[in-house]
Symmetry: C2
Subunit: 205 residues, 2 copies
């Protein structure tokens, strides 16, 4: 179903739909409508129907969507009907928070290791992990077959760590370092920069 190119903006909305549907399911609900889902996520019913219909016919006119079925289909589409191993680089406060983050559970991800280049941190316990030496990052990425890293290193180190990880086989980077990364076309990057998110809102204040 990925033969046709779906706009990335639509792909970006699917995790939001999935998150809302999983929440409905947790609350014991069985069916929903594009109207109801739209109210949950702040997106119009028409947009939701249009987005979802890109991938097939998942709802019935009049009866709406089966929540479990739509969850299953969205997880298939987003390839999170499996668990992806993820590595954290940078064992500061943010890396610490990510290594212990409970909300990856049930959403397709599992942190498997955390690294730092500060020798005084190597070996220190973080939750169920022991901080590993960043010197071994490339080797460990290959060994673990990891495709996804989360970078919580300083901005000045982010590009070189990204380069190393990509060389070792990483295809997706969630970058918490406040700097844009240059990566090959076959590698995806998403940015989490709280200051940038805040600045996008202060414009309107």
């Amino acid at each position: 179903m990925n033969a046709r190119k779906i706009p990335d903006i639509i792909i970006g909305r699917l995790p939001v739909y999935l998150r809302a549907l999983q929440r409905m399911s947790d609350l014991g609900l069985k069916t929903t409508s594009s109207q109801e889902l739209g109210e949950q996520v702040g997106i119009s019913a028409a947009q939701i129907r249009k987005d979802v219909s890109q991938f097939g016919e998942f709802g019935k006119q009049g009866t709406g969507y089966s929540i479990e079925y739509l969850i299953e289909k969205l997880r298939e589409i987003l390839k999170v009907n499996r668990i992806w191993d993820v590595v954290v680089v940078g064992a500061g406060d943010m890396g610490h928070a990510l290594a212990n983050y409970q909300a990856f559970h049930n959403r397709g991800f599992r942190v498997v290791a955390i690294f730092d280049n500060d020798k005084s941190k190597v070996g220190a316990p973080i939750g169920k992990f022991s901080v590993e030496d960043a010197e071994n990052l490339a080797e460990r990425i290959r060994e673990l077959g990891v495709k996804i890293v989360m970078l919580t290193v300083p901005a000045s180190a982010a590009q070189s760590v990204a380069d190393l990880a990509i060389q070792a086989g990483v295809k997706a980077i969630l970058n918490y370092a406040p700097v844009s990364l240059n990566v090959p076309g076959n590698v995806k990057v998403q940015y989490i920069d709280p200051s940038a998110h805040l600045q996008r809102m202060t414009y309107y204040l």
Copy 2:
């Protein structure tokens, strides 16, 4: 300059330009071009020129942009030529990381308090803060005149905390809870949900 309505997608790119320019400035650079800036941030030179020109004439044909001047203008436009006080609600790992986050420095924000409803956490030190009782959240938001909160509470608590904060005068919410919020039209919300960011990338793997 906000009289004309600028598309939000453009507003969303300005913090990225500002971040890259601040980095160039830190490195001692004085001028840049839309070409060079574009390479830094992975956006075309034409797009950057178009975005920036929405707000006036900040560069000269042939000589490019003065980095300091463009920084000053972008900070004015994004209203971060001042410091905004921000409150963190939720003193778990993520709240802890945000309370200690160094990278707000120089980008327009300052955490002024952190709250939790868990009485066993109230009074505990986090960096230079002492966790405050969430019971007093509304009162303290009014007292501090805070317009921005960062929510790191569980999904189940996020809406009610948001409602309370908005009633107390908050106009912008950076929401780390993995749930969509319903807010009035005059309140802005931005979402940081690492699982959703990761899912947006696994689609392509």
